[in-house]
Point group: C2
Chain length 204, copies 2
């Protein structure tokens, strides 16, 4: 088991093998995280997890336990195997980005979009493509009957975790969302952590 | 006013200027269409309409009349100005693609993803990026209380139309969805049409 700390407002990338477990932990509680997964093809990320293709694969807004996130080529990349949080996550809203913060009057603010590129760069991957729509763990965006979206504050508790199984050799990025102008995370920005467990014997 | 016929299962691209109106017409009724919009930057599409950024901009699953679809840089690109259909459209499901038809046992079937590249190529644009999640007009994918998605057959009537105003100079692509293995369109595949109206005087 190896553990990677993700300081508040930053991101980290980890490489995992098919069969490995990736645990995304809300260390202090109430912190939204943006998760991305890419196939690990050498020098740059290629196939990526896709929110839209995942919805089509499961006919649901977010996977239930045992269901998979799939790539833009409709291949399972991560399976949701355990969730100790209240189970409210989002897969409708994009990563925060420079345009979002400029509109909020805070140009130059850290963002999950910039964090993604930074985290990939740190492990030697250059990222120039469009930012995929993230898996927003612990983010609460309920859909009303008329299709209206609400943005509520994260209700995850200290130590709550989502466990994913890698279905392909891949790079998983976790950004501890730096959004502190809109109250999607509770209280001040706080850290997340990634634990990876090598499951052995199931490499694809 | 100019009119472009979109034969069943194919796509066409049109160039429009900021202020122009683009009308997407379901000629015979019950036909799903995939709409894409890209900024017109010369040789290849750059900024594109983004389903996720649009949801974030309007806090709704699909724009209401008067609301805009925005790009991946959060700039309005198309505004929904009129809708004579029953008003059920989708912005959750990806374009059908070769992987989708292979899984349905029909490799080599036409797809909206391939149609998009073909239509852009016909107007001299080379498209190599990821296929954006389309605006699926006339496609009925209601969201249940538990986040479950249903796929119902299109209920649009002959001549029903959605009218969009371009907010940027852009390329709009309309694919008359070739999906005939899953009953999202009613009856046999049928044509769509695009009418563009130059509004004048409002170029950006």
């Amino acid at each position: 088991m190896s553990r990677t700390e993700v300081p508040p407002g930053t991101a980290r990338a980890v490489r995992v093998r098919a069969g490995d477990l990736v645990r995304v932990i809300d260390v202090e509680g109430g912190q939204v995280g943006d998760v991305f997964a890419f196939t690990d093809s050498g020098t740059e990320p290629a196939e990526h997890h896709s929110a839209a293709h995942t919805r089509a694969a499961i006919d649901r807004l977010f996977p239930a336990i045992g269901e998979s996130f799939v790539t833009d080529r409709r291949r399972p990349i991560l399976t949701l195997v355990e969730d100790t949080s209240p189970g409210e996550h989002d897969m409708l809203i994009p990563a925060c980005d420079p345009a979002r913060y400029a509109a909020l009057g805070a140009p130059g603010h850290r963002s999950c979009a910039a964090n993604l590129a930074e985290a990939l760069d740190e492990i030697g991957l250059s990222f120039t493509g469009a930012v995929p729509q993230p898996i927003n763990v612990f983010m609460r965006v309920p859909v009303g009957e008329d299709g209206r979206l609400s943005r509520l504050t994260a209700s995850s508790r200290p130590g709550d975790a989502v466990t994913l199984r890698a279905e392909l050799d891949c790079v998983v990025v976790l950004s501890a969302c730096p959004q502190d102008l809109v109250r999607i995370s509770a209280g001040r920005l706080s850290p997340l952590a990634i634990e990876t467990v090598h499951n052995g014997g199931t490499r694809s």
